[in-house]
Amino acid sequence: MGRIIKPVIVVVILLLVLAIPALAVVARSYILAPVAQPAKAQPIAFPHSIHVNVVGLDCTFCHRGATTQADSTVPALQLCMGCHAIIPTTDRPQLEKLVNAFNSGTPINWTRVHQLPDHVHFVHAMHINAGFNCATCHGDVASMAPGAVVQVRDLRMGDCITCHRENNAPTDCSTCHY
């Protein structure tokens, strides 16, 4: 028996070792993929739904850079307070955080949801002006739970290139990497 077990163990170990790259590929596509990540904790559970569906704001009302420049930008607290100065904070702990931050002059550090590496230069303005909606990449943010915005699109190079090819956009390396 012992004489059979030994080669079997060797073969099993060999198969396991060979399976590592394959498993890595599978993991990258599923478990490790950006879209598979859970929602990240945010300092304030900001409800996009109320601002978009109830108040009827356009994305670019707050994310003002999106149409004209590279960064879409998160708004300064001053912009929030334009409306929130007159909205009562009683029994609204999330809102209280905002008003306190503004009054004490403390900026808010949000957790990034869409994180591109340093060597990728993405320009919002070019994509918006080419006729794409924010939702093309960001999904229906308005329907996401407060403070639980998640990434819905892969946004890795394969995804970018596929879309660029479909739309005859440049696929030259220097378009994004420098």
Binding site: H121, N129, C173, S174, H177, Y178
Partner: protein
Amino acid sequence: MAHRWGMTIDLDLCTGCQACVVACQAENNIPINTEENFQQRRAIEWIRVERYWEGEFPNVKARYIPVPCMMCENAPCEPVCPVYASYHTDQGLNFQVYNRCIGTRYCSVNCHWHVRFFNFWEPKWPDSLKQQLNPLVAVRSRGVMEKCSFCIQRIDHAEQSAQLQGRDVKDGDFTTACAQACPTRAIVFGDLNNADSEVAKTVASTKRGYQLLADLGTNPAVVYLKKIDADPLPEDSKHKYFDSSQYTRVKETVAVG
């Protein structure tokens, strides 16, 4: 029409002041070159000013020549890269993709102008100096080749701005950091394919134009204008350090574009 970005460097105007060198370092997040870097010949200067001697005291002259990447049309660095990190863009730029580079350094060996630099170590800045880093340019990490990009971030920005305004890039919309700083306007940057651009006009009209190591046939996009020597050294004091009869090199201009 596709752009072909090019540069003219008038050696008659270059004073060797090196404002271009620092301007480039500030724009492109080049690590601080320490004393050890220089001693090990690992200093990174995307554009450098070389000095050449002619003759010896008292009949002596020193010549300056600024050397950025030549952006060759048939670049010797490109075919040797096993991972296509060094490649040719649609606009004729010879370009380095940092995230693709695996650091074989073949390209730097094959570059005749010594304008490719390798990051032997992770670049380091004190925390406070990091505030100066240009957010539009990636910091290259250890094990990656880097080189002059003709300020690709400025090219991209200018093209995007022009596209958003519904027009094409015009000559003078932008320039590279070195050309912007140059006090004597020795360095001029522009589109060689645009007949109205300053560089194209200079290249077309000058009788002094030449390319560095033009006989290699790589057709660089950087065109030098020869220095005018109004008072040449006496014949016998010239070229003291080599026997010019051994070197029969092409002396005349090779056309560009």
